[in-house]
Each structure stands twice: as structure tokens, then as C-alpha cells.
């Protein structure tokens, strides 16, 4: 039968089954197609894997994943979230009732921190979270019972017949060859025989259930028959055994006599569990397993686990895969593991991906796959066909790269050895590092050459991390705005406005010291760590003690508890400052970004969970504590360094002075940008502050996505170019123009769409935040470009003192603006505050802002031209300007 004709017949058959099993009275929403598509993909293969000959060229490709798959899954996930938004009440009930599942996912999210590949783990976690979202879409449907029936019917009618069609008529999709034994296997719509077994198990059981439960006997009978045939050809004994047990359980519990006894299902399930435990784990049924044609050691897994379990394992995070690899590497040379020889018979190590998940055999020779085209022995397996070692035609047919995909872990093994030349090595940079050697000397990753490439790529990693962090933050904003009132937000912001100033004491200062210093060793770093930790502890105690004063300042007694709780964030942050700075100095931006992203995910998950459980503003407090806690844990895991005891060092005092200057500048700028929050909270209370701050955050978040990674990388890179003015200027102007091009565009766009954006993102009840967002965007985006970039100059040339003085000048102007705004509020009513006075004030501010921009331009130019450290600053401004203007043509090396 020609494949085309068979396809037509199968399509007709599928349509007939849909018609036979239709439920005209079932009221299911169209949104059910979203989980249906999700389940079709999950039950078969990813979109990119449908391409004939689709193969993973390198582990990098595996780690990065397919953009098409990412796009499709993200689209489905976004659509599912959009469906759940109007069903928020039902979703909330679902989540409340399933809090343990959320806790489990929160733990899984936290485990990203100690994963060897946090980026990949985070993607997997997001994908797994998608399953929960899809379940929620199904269970929040108007008729959940009908929705479950339709979901299984749609997927069963498509996947099972399609598997038969592919196996019979499209072998390039439906069949493959075992990579070790070269025996053919049947995969159908799935990848690998086990995949086909899972499909038959799940959807066969679903059809069996519908067969007993009033579904179309013809349609579901056909599906069950096809599933049984597929079981037979797939030779998936485990799945078939599970299908048999599940089918028996279904049949027993649906017998009219037994169905009326409530304890029947429990008794039968318990009996089956005991039997399986006895047979599989206590080796009581060795003969039974052997009779199913299976290895009694479960293909060597029991032997492997005997070895692995003897190893020392950390109680909570378990054994890191990289450490297992290190253990492997102690047996084999690293080069043998990682680099395939360029000529001669090539082999791919099976042990590379994840020991414990991949296969291992006792025989060293059997660990290696000899690529057929190059000749060489094939591992001898019982029942496996042995193609000739030099049989090019046959080898080409075998398509070794397509076969034998058992699970995600084994996909790493799919790297075709012929593609592993000496120029491509399947390894990713390790996330963790030891910053100092035994002598206490710092390890530079890129000494000298390749700085630009590392810096730009570092910025890439950082931007990627920031983008994912932005997505997480936006999800949190959208969800929490619907769970927590503006007044609750305002209450927490009242305290964080103070606490963030203290939290940044070590963060802004010591970080720059570590980055900017030409030499860094373990003694200096240890001193910095203990100074940061000690000051963090003192500030924590002081802030907790000042809780009554904060409450009195704002006139709200609830702030006492909030202040004391949030004081812990100061100490937690101070403990990770030096570790994170060392990672940045080593240009491990990927590690820093991943850590930041994972910490945000943990904090957001905690806040959403607690908000759903009705904790109100305490959910936000918990998130504020979880963020530095997770960051600290990640920083210590990634930067493997334990500080020494503090020692006297003459270089410490200048470093503290530098750090204080940086912090002074930060404080001035912080007061500049947060004066509005102080005054609004003080004058108008929590709710108006909540509106204002949410709007401010919505504006500042996207801008920070660009500016903060650029700042991290720019200060690192510019610091190393401090003695090359031409290169320095080129780097700087390039970064500034990029920031201006994108930042000003975002600002103007938010001005135009601010009100609608607030309405869409935050939902009803937040309308008052719209005008705030529209008004402040353009002005602030222009200011931000200047604010961030002139900070780069001061820090990179080691003149934090200049930054401090500029911050004071800048702050004076902003404080005047905010004082005017607050006085308007006290004189007039809120209507006046929202309209005329603010509009008039904004006009003045635009004029002031324009002149300010011109001044900043002058400042930048002068800083670029005279970037040598000066000892006479601050001199009088007149002397400074008159003495320091030079034409660009006269610029030369200092």
C-alpha cells in the first residue's frame, strides 16, 4: 500500500473515531486545545526532532536547545497563563489545595542553584512547571471531568494511530537502530522503544478506562488493539507490565460487585505495590523478570548504584555531577574523556554525560563506540546483529546518530564522533571556581588577550540572565498585583526604602574595590570579607533596633515587625559581596547571572506561594529575605573560597576609603532617586506609595536589563583600559550610544503606552499608577543614560571621590524637585496633585533636564579627556573647567 494512501485511510479513521466518541453535551472550552497540543508534544517528540536526520551536533547545541521548541513551548505556556488569568479564583483554590506540589517545585527551583548546569536546569524546571500550568487549565475548565475525557480522547486518537502509521509506512520516522547493538527498534511518534511504550501505556490505559466507562466501544477498542500491537512490536516489557497491572486494577474496580466497596481500590493497589516491591527490589521474582526477557540487574543499573551509593553524599543537594565526573576523570585522563582523536578510529565515551544516568559496563572496550565508517569492533551483545566493521553501505543505512535516544541524559552521547575535531570540544565552562591558588594568588581567566571577546560575551551572558530575571520579575509583578493590595506593597516599600540603603553598604564599594584593583590576593579578599560581614552585622542590629523609629516616622505600628524582619537582608547580602565580586573579577558572568536568576526565581516562587496562602504583605517580606539568602548560598557554592582570618595589611585602609567613596556616591544617588518614595510614604501613606513605586519599578526594570549588565562588564573592561585613552574612549562611546539608543526608545514608548500597560499588567485597582509611569519615563530614561555612564568613568579610573561629588550635585537638584512635589501635595487635594501642578512641574523639569543633559555631556567629555587620576580634586569648578578642556586632537597617552 502506498504511504500516501495509507495516510489518507488513517486520517479518515481518526476522524471517524472522533465522530464516534463525540460528546455533544460536554461543555469544554476551546482553551483545552492548549494542554492537548502540549500533551501531544510531550507524548511524541519536540517539533525540531521531527526533521528527518535531525541531530545534535554538539553538547553546546544540547545545552542551548532548539529555538523553535523554545518558542512553541513558551507560546503555549503564555497562552495557558493568559487562560488562567480570568480563572484566577479557581486556580487559587487549586493551588491552595495542592500546596505540597508547589513546595516541591519551589525546592526544585532552589536546586537550580547547586546544579552544575543551572541554565539547563532552569529551563527544565520551567518546562516542568508548564505541566502544572496545563493541569490547571484542564482542572479549571467549566466541566473538569469532561475536559479530562476529551483531553485523553484527542491525544489517544492522534498518537496511537499515528504511531502505527509511522511504524508501518514511514520508517524514517517510526523506526531506528539501537546504537549499541544495531538491532532495529520501533519508536512510532516517540523517540525510542521506551518512549513508544510510555505512549501506549498512558493512552492505552486512558482508552481502556473509556471503554469501561461509556465511551465509544469501537473507537476506544481500536485504540486499545493498536496499543497492544505496538507493545508487541516495541518489546517494551516494563510498559506492558504496567499496562497489564493498570488494566487489571481498572477491570477489578469496575466490576459491579466490587465497585460498591470503597476499600477495593486501596486493597488492590496495596497488593500490587507489595508484589512489585517483592519481585523487583527483593529479587524474589528473578525468574519472572528473566521470563520477560530482561536482564535481572536491570541492564546494569543495580550494579552501578551499588558503586555510587558507597560514595559520600551531601545530605541535601546530593552528589554534584561534576564531582562524579572528577571521580571518573581520576580513572581516565581528562583528554580521553573530552577530546576525540582527530584521525584513526574514533570513539565516543559513554561516560561523559551523567554518571549514574548513562550506561556503564565493566569492560573498558565496551565503553567505546567505534564509528562504523572508520572501522573497528562493535560491542558484542546477545541477540544483536554484528554488521561488518568495514561495510560503508550498510553503515550509512544504520544512521548511528539517529538511534537509541533513551532519555535526556543520553542525548549528550549523540555527538557524532566524526564531528568532534580538535577545534570543537564538548565542554562548557564550569560554573564553580576556586579564585585563589595555594599561595593565595588570584587566577585571571583571560590574562591579556581576548579581553574584548570575553567582555562582550560576558555582557551577552549577563543580558541573557537579566532578561530571564526580567521575565521572572514581570511574572511576579503581574501575579502579585492580583494577590496583594497596593497598600500592602506600600507598607513593605516604606521599610525597603531605608533597608536597601544599608543593604548596599558592602555591595556598592567592596565590589568595585575587588574589580578595580590591579592585584588581588586571598589576604586582601579575606580582610574585605570580614569588614563587609562585620559592618553588615552591625547595621543589621542597628536597623532592627531602629524599628520603632521607622514606624513612628511613617505613623504605622505594623512597620516594627516588618523592619525587624527585613533587617536580616543586610547581613545576608554582606556575606556574599566579596564572593560575587571575585566571580565578576574572574569574568564568570555566566555564573553570576545564573545565580542571580535562580535566586530571583526562588524569591518569586516563595512570595507567590505565600501570597496565595493569604500572608499579605508578609509574603513580600519573605521574598525580600529569600532573595539574599538564595544569592548568598549560590555565591558560596559557585565561588569555592573560604575566607582566612583577618590580618593586618597596609593596603586595607585605602581600599576602605575607596569603598566609602563609592558608597557615598551611591548614597547620594540613592537619595536622589528615592526621595520621592520617602516623601510619598511619609505624607500620603502606604497605598499612594504602592502606586508610585509599582509604576517606577515598571519603568526602571526594563532599563536595568540593559544598564546593569553593561555596567558590570563596562567597569571591568574599562578598568583594564585606564592607560589606553583611545581604546577607552572608543569602548565608552560605543556603550553610551547603545544605551541611549535603546534606553530612550524604551522611555518614550512607556510614556505613550504607560496607562494601558498598567491596566494590562497590574489589572483593575491599579489605574492610579498609570499617570506616574507615563510622566516619569522619558525624563528618567535620559537621566539614567547619563547617571550610569558617568559612574563607569569614575569607577574605572579609580576616582570614586569624583563620583561622590557629582552625586551630591545631582542629588541637590532632585531633592528640590521632590520637595516641590511634596509641598504641592500638602497644599492641594489629590486631584490637584494628579493634574495641573504636576503638569506644570513636569514642564519645568523637562527644561531643567535638557540643560542638565548638556552639563552631563560636558562632564563626560571632560572625563574622557582627562581621565588620569588627579590628586587636587575637588578643586574649584571654575579652575577645573578652565584648565581641563582640551580638543580631541590633542588627546594622547597620559
Amino acid at each position: 500500500v502506498p504511504p500516501t494512501l495509507a495516510t489518507v485511510v488513517f486520517i479518515a479513521g481518526i476522524l471517524m473515531m472522533f465522530r464516534l466518541d463525540r460528546e455533544p453535551h460536554a461543555r469544554v472550552s476551546r482553551a483545552l486545545w492548549i494542554p492537548t497540543v502540549w500533551m501531544l508534544i510531550a507524548g511524541s517528540r519536540m517539533i525540531s526532532e521531527w526533521r528527518v536526520g535531525a541531530e545534535i551536533d554538539s553538547p553546546d547545541q544540547y545545552f542551548e536547545g532548539s529555538p523553535i521548541d523554545r518558542l512553541v513551548l513558551t507560546g503555549l505556556l503564555a497562552a495557558a497563563v493568559a487562560v488562567l488569568v480570568p480563572r484566577a479564583r479557581a486556580a487559587e483554590v487549586f493551588l491552595r489545595r495542592n500546596a505540597p506540589i508547589l513546595l516541591f517545585f519551589a525546592f526544585c527551583g532552589a536546586s537550580v542553584i547547586w546544579s552544575d548546569y543551572p541554565g539547563v536546569s532552569f529551563k527544565r524546571w520551567t518546562k516542568a512547571l508548564g505541566d502544572v500550568v496545563m493541569v490547571m487549565v484542564v482542572l479549571t475548565d467549566p466541566d473538569p471531568s469532561a475536559a479530562i475525557r476529551r483531553l485523553f480522547a484527542r491525544t489517544s486518537f492522534l498518537l496511537i494511530p499515528a504511531s502505527v502509521l509511522l511504524v508501518k509506512y514511514y520508517p524514517e520516522w517510526g523506526r531506528g537502530y539501537d546504537r549499541w547493538t544495531w538491532t532495529p527498534y520501533y519508536g512510532g511518534v516517540a523517540i525510542g522503544k521506551n518512549g513508544l511504550g510510555y505512549v501506549c501505556l498512558i493512552f492505552g490505559l486512558a482508552s481502556l478506562w473509556r471503554l469501561f466507562d461509556g465511551g465509544s466501544r469501537i473507537a476506544h477498542g481500536i485504540v486499545v488493539a493498536m496499543a497492544l500491537w505496538l507493545f508487541w512490536i516495541a518489546d517494551s516489557a516494563t510498559s506492558f507490565a504496567c499496562f497489564f497491572i493498570g488494566g487489571a486494577l481498572l477491570a477489578i474496580t469496575m466490576l459491579p460487585g466490587l465497585a460498591r466497596v470503597p476499600s477495593t481500590p486501596h486493597l488492590v493497589t496495596g497488593g500490587i505495590a507489595v508484589t512489585v516491591f517483592t519481585v523487583v527490589l527483593l529479587n524474589a521474582g528473578t525468574g519472572l523478570i528473566a521470563s520477560m526477557g530482561r536482564d535481572t540487574t536491570l541492564t546494569g543499573r543495580t550494579e552501578l548504584w551499588e558503586t555510587v551509593l558507597k560514595m559520600t553524599v551531601d545530605p541535601l543537594p546530593g552528589r554534584r555531577i561534576r564531582e562524579l565526573l572528577a571521580w571518573e576523570a581520576s580513572r581516565k585522563s581528562l583528554g580521553d574523556l573530552l577530546v576525540a582523536p582527530a584521525a584513526g578510529p574514533q570513539r565516543v565515551s559513554r561516560d561523559l554525560p551523567e554518571p549514574g544516568l548513562g550506561r556503564r559496563t565493566r569492560d573498558r572496550d565496551r565503553d567505546c563506540l567505534w564509528i562504523p565508517q572508520c572501522g573497528g569492533p562493535f560491542p558484542q551483545r546477545s541477540g544483536g546483529r554484528q554488521p561488518g566493521p568495514r561495510d560503508p553501505g550498510r553503515c550509512a543505512d544504520l544512521q548511528p546518530d539517529r538511534g537509541g535516544i533513551q532519555d535526556d541524559a543520553s542525548r549528550l552521547d549523540r555527538v557524532p564522533a566524526r564531528r568532534l575535531g580538535a577545534s570543537r570540544v564538548p565542554v562548557l565552562p564550569p560554573m564553580s571556581m576556586t579564585p585563589f591558588d595555594d599561595n593565595g594568588t588570584f587566577h585571571p581567566v583571560a590574562p591579556g588577550a581576548g579581553l574584548r571577546r570575553l567582555a562582550v560575551r560576558g555582557a551577552g551572558f549577563t543580558v541573557l540572565g537579566q532578561s530571564l530575571g526580567f521575565v521572572i520579575q514581570m511574572v511576579a509583578t503581574v501575579v502579585l498585583a492580583r494577590l496583594i493590595t497596593p497598600a500592602d506593597f506600600g507598607l513593605v516599600i516604606m521599610v525597603t526604602t531605608f533597608s536597601l540603603l544599608l543593604v548596599n553598604f558592602g555591595l556598592n564599594g567592596f565590589t568595585e574595590v575587588v574589580l578595580q584593583r590591579e592585584k588581588m590576593d586571598a589576604r586582601i579578599a579575606s580582610n574585605l570579607f570580614w569588614i563587609a560581614a562585620g559592618s553588615g552585622l552591625l547595621l543589621t542590629l542597628a536597623f532592627a533596633g531602629a524599628a520603632p523609629l521607622v514606624a513612628r516616622f511613617y505613623g504605622d505600628a505594623r512597620l516594627i515587625g516588618v523592619t525587624r524582619a527585613l533587617s536580616a537582608t543586610i547581613l545576608l547580602t554582606s556575606l556574599s559581596v566579596v564572593h560575587l565580586a571575585l566571580l565578576r573579577r574572574a569574568m564568570r558572568f555566566a555564573a553570576v547571572s545564573t545565580n542571580d536568576m535562580a535566586a530571583r526565581a526562588v524569591a518569586v516562587a516563595a512570595s507567590i506561594l505565600l501570597a496565595i496562602l493569604g500572608w499579605g504583605y508578609w509574603a513580600l517580606v519573605a521574598a525580600a529575605i529569600a532573595l539574599p539568602l538564595a544569592t548568598c548560598a549560590g555565591a558560596w557554592l559557585t565561588c569555592r573560597w573560604v575566607p582566612r582570618a583577618p590580618a593586618r595589611d597596609p593596603e586595607t585602609l585605602p581600599m576602605i576609603r575607596f569603598a566609602l567613596n563609592v558608597y557615598g556616591r551611591f548614597t547620594a544617588n540613592y537619595l536622589t532617586w528615592n526621595m520621592g518614595s520617602f516623601l510619598l510614604g511619609w505624607r500620603f501613606g502606604a497605598a499612594p506609595l504602592g502606586f508610585y513605586k509599582r509604576a517606577y519599578d515598571l519603568f526602571i526594570l526594563p532599563l536595568n536589563q540593559l544598564s546593569s549588565p553593561l555596567t558590570n562588564v563596562a567597569v571591568s573592561a574599562l578598568s583594564r583600559l585606564a592607560h589606553d585613552p583611545v581604546q577607552y574612549r572608543r569602548y565608552f562611546l560605543s556603550a553610551l550610544s547603545t544605551l541611549a539608543f535603546i534606553g530612550m526608545g524604551i522611555g518614550a514608548g512607556l510614556t505613550l503606552a504607560g496607562r494601558d500597560l498598567i491596566l494590562f499588567l497590574l489589572g483593575p485597582g491599579w489605574e492610579e499608577a498609570g499617570p506616574h509611569l507615563s510622566r516619569s519615563s522619558v525624563r528618567a530614561s535620559a537621566s539614567c543614560c547619563c547617571y550610569y555612564t558617568h559612574g563607569w568613568i569614575h569607577l574605572s579610573i579609580g576616582r570614586a571621590d569624583r563620583g561622590f561629588w557629582w552625586g551630591l550635585v545631582e542629588g541637590r537638584r532632585h531633592r528640590r524637585v521632590h520637595r516641590d512635589r511634596a509641598s504641592v501635595g500638602t497644599r492641594g487635594d489629590r486631584r490637584r496633585l494628579g493634574r495641573l501642578p504636576l503638569a506644570a512641574h513636569d514642564s519645568i523639569a523637562v527644561v531643567r533636564g535638557t540643560t542638565g543633559l548638556a552639563r552631563y555631556g560636558v562632564c563626560h567629555r571632560s572625563c574622557l579627556e582627562v581621565h588620569r587620576p588627579r590628586r587636587d580634586w575637588p578643586a574649584s569648578s571654575r579652575q577645573y573647567w578652565s584648565g581641563r578642556f582640551r580638543s580631541t586632537s590633542r588627546l594622547g597617552p597620559p
Binding site: 553546546d60 539608543f741 514608548g749 503606552a753 500597560l757
Partner: protein, 58 residues
């Protein structure tokens, strides 16, 4: 028209006009090219052998 539709419409129109304005002011596509180049350089790539040697020796 819903808020989302308005946001999308404003974003499309504004982005078009903004890029047009940038092209007119700079008399060319250089700023856009510069950003695209930068984004291209930031894209993670396969590590070279030199990079791997650095990492494995570190």
C-alpha cells in the same frame, strides 16, 4: 479596544517611527547595525580549543 491591543498598536507604531527617526537623524542604518553587531557578538558560541585549555588549566 482592550488595553493589550492598545499597547501592541502603540508599540508597533512607535517602534516604526522611532527607528525611522533614528535613520533620518543619523542618515543611515549605522546605529541599528551597531546594536545588531553588539547583540551578535554577545551571542554565546561554541568554545574554542584555546578557551577550553584556559578553563581546564585554571
Amino acid at each position: 479596544m482592550s488595553a493589550l491591543m492598545r499597547v501592541v498598536a502603540i508599540a508597533i507604531v512607535f517602534t516604526t517611527l522611532y527607528l525611522l527617526a533614528v535613520v533620518i537623524v543619523h542618515r543611515g542604518l549605522e546605529p541599528i547595525r551597531q546594536v545588531l553587531r553588539l547583540a551578535g557578538h554577545m551571542r554565546p558560541r561554541r568554545p574554542s580549543i584555546e578557551r577550553v585549555q584556559l578553563l581546564t588549566s585554571a
